[in-house]
């Protein structure tokens, strides 16, 4: 269920009577078909099939069970039932895997979270499909045996033969496979905004005419973010494992970049499903970047569905089969054209839209959502001089080093306070312990008085100012830092 696993106990009763095979414990369609798979796999692996009344019960019985991952465990239970194997040596052992008709063990979804839950419940040994071995390496203190076939499991118990598995590739710490910021020409203000956003974990709006590099910028955003910590990598891999998206091992420490199309529906965005609640784009982007291109084209309901995860860092989905919470703490990057035709930039000369059209277009991004975006920048088309430059831009590694240094500073500052990023500083703490310089505070309060900034806006500006200050290496935000933060908030006027 979601990222949380339950250990399912399988009981087999082989009774007298006409040969039947009954599966109990609320199986879904895929699990019901498990009967045929298990039977064929056992017979085709040259084991004996009991031609009797076989009853298999998966307990706890009240929990609806789905999917093919119980195949291996059911097959093992049946092999034990007629003495091919003995139960004694299987204490605290779990079996995960789908069986092919020939007895092959096939990969399944959600192995990593299953192993984590199993370990938490005192399981000491796990058999998993060899194809799931890569994700399982993240789990420590658990004996994991990856197998290709039912015969291999049998051999392990009868002859003590450990299945041969190729040594998995060492986890790469190389992030160089990602797109690099050096590909971008010019765009100094947008680069700066990205860097500040990376330091403090601030959400970002990129606005600009088509073809100016909004998408290029966003795609390169993960490359300037610090690599995932082992604990974060575990969470990210667990979510992707549940979604059935096995991550390329080389990229497993890179932060995910998820860019849902603007026709995406709300269930695809935040998660949903009938028999199985699948994590949505917001959860897949956990600890990474969620990029929404052409945001005004997206249906308003879908965009607003992001408000809950933006607020709480998780998504709670309720369906008839239950309620599931997936983590969804991501950096939101929204890209938008300034108007339907896209040319309302600078003097707006090329624009063919009416004033009303322009206003309506941007109003599609709702106020409450806009309010959660700390940094808003206009991405200008590169100038003639910039386009003629032959030198590459600053590369991602350099920027990432700066971001990591700045993050280390903020992390040290927030030690023991319960949050780690500048964007997470609670309002109360901002007013008390994390104020800016006196002159800077005066400027902010002036803005507030003139009605140019809301109370929430004051906090947002302060948080961004802290990120700028961390980049600079100063002790507290200066007037200059706050001015920059203010301009990052106000340079683009959107919405009412």
């Amino acid at each position: 269920m979601g990222l949380e696993g339950h250990v399912i106990t399988i009981e087999v009763d082989v009774g007298d009577g006409v040969p039947t095979f009954t599966l109990l414990g609320l199986p879904d369609a895929a699990l019901s078909e498990s009967r045929e798979r298990v039977k064929s796999a056992i017979i085709n692996s040259n084991f004996e099939w009991p031609h009797r009344k076989v009853t298999v019960a998966l307990s706890p019985a009240y929990l609806p069970k789905s999917g093919s991952s119980f195949d291996l465990a059911i097959a093992m239970a049946i092999l034990i039932s007629h003495g091919s194997l003995t139960l004694a040596s299987m204490d605290q052992t779990i079996f995960i895997g789908e069986l092919g008709l020939d007895g092959e063990v096939r990969p399944v979804r959600g192995v990593l979270p299953a192993l984590l839950s199993a370990r938490a419940k005192g399981i000491t040994r796990a058999f998993i499909p060899a194809a799931n071995a890569i994700e399982s390496r993240l789990v420590e203190n658990l004996e994991i045996i990856s197998v290709d076939s039912l015969t291999q499991v049998h051999e392990f118990y009868t002859a003590g033969v450990l299945p041969e598995s190729e040594i998995p590739v060492e986890q790469s710490t190389d992030v160089s496979l990602m797109l690099d910021m050096e590909d971008l020409v010019g765009q100094e203000s947008a680069r700066r905004a990205l860097e500040i956003a990376a330091v403090g974990g601030h959400h970002l709006l990129l606005m600009g005419p088509p073809g100016t590099g909004k998408t290029m910028l966003a795609q390169r955003f993960p490359s300037i973010l610090p690599a995932l910590t082992p604990a974060e990598a575990l969470e990210v891999t667990a979510i992707h494992s549940v979604a059935g998206k096995l991550i390329d091992p080389a990229a497993s420490i890179a932060r995910p970049f998820i860019a849902p199309h603007h026709s995406t529906t709300a269930p695809a965005m935040v998660g949903g499903g009938v028999h199985f609640i699948r994590p949505g784009a917001a959860s897949l982007a956990h600890h990474g970047v969620l990029f929404i291109d052409e945001a005004p084209e997206m249906s308003p309901g879908v965009l607003d569905a992001l408000r809950q995860p933006l607020e709480s860092g998780e998504v709670t989905i309720t369906r008839s089969i239950g309620t599931i919470t997936y983590p969804a703490s991501f950096l939101l990057v929204i890209a938008a054209n300034p108007c339907p035709c896209g040319n309302f930039a600078g003097k707006g000369r090329g624009c063919t839209c009416s004033a009303l059209q322009v206003r309506r277009y941007l109003q599609k991004i709702s106020g409450p959502l806009m309010d959660r975006i700390d940094i808003r920048v206009f991405v200008d088309p590169p100038s003639r001089v910039e386009m003629l430059q032959t030198a590459l831009g600053e590369d991602s590694a350099t920027i990432r080093a700066r971001v990591e240094r700045a993050r280390a500073r903020s992390l040290a500052r927030f030690l023991g306070l319960g949050w780690s990023l500048n964007s997470e500083i609670p309002a109360k703490a901002l007013r008390k312990d994390f104020r800016a310089e006196r002159s800077a505070m005066n400027l902010i309060h002036d803005e507030l008085e003139r009605g140019l900034l809301s109370a929430r806006g004051v906090h947002k500006v302060l948080r961004v100012a802290w990120s700028i200050c961390d980049l600079q290496g100063a002790a507290i935000p200066s007037l200059e830092n706050v001015e920059e933060a203010l301009s990052l908030r106000n340079s683009v006027k959107v919405g009412p």
Binding site: D16, G17, V18
Partner: protein
């Protein structure tokens, strides 16, 4: 009689012998009405009436003999048993439905797999 009929008859004979050797009294063989047939009906030493369906196969190539008894056939056996009980004024008597699988090998040896009270 064809090969299959001979095989079936031979299997029924074997099961009948087995039942009698265990002290059952054979009441009827191949009792047939329009709805179907009961291969063997026997009275067990403890007074229970046993209705026995015999399945004979010469190989397991097409699955276990007893796999041929699905839910529909089991229900028909049940109806036939009740029909026999009512036509013989035994309604209310304790009864059970058994199945016997006879597997005859090439060499002529037979194994009997007897399952009692299958419903």
């Amino acid at each position: 009689m064809g090969y299959k009929q001979n095989l079936g008859r031979a299997g029924e004979n074997l099961v009948a012998d087995l039942l009698q050797s265990q002290g059952n009294q054979l009441l009827e063989r191949n009792w047939r009405i329009r709805e179907g047939e009961i291969d063997l009906i026997a009275l067990a030493p403890n007074g229970v009436i046993r209705f026995v369906e015999v399945k004979t196969r010469s190989s397991e190539k097409f699955g276990h003999p007893l796999e041929a008894i699905n839910a529909r056939k089991a229900m028909r056996l049940q109806r036939l048993a009740l029909a026999w009980l009512s036509t013989h004024q035994h309604l209310g008597a304790e009864y059970q439905i058994d199945c016997a699988a006879v597997l005859s090998s090439q060499t002529g040896e037979c194994t009997i797999d007897y399952r009692s009270a299958i419903l």
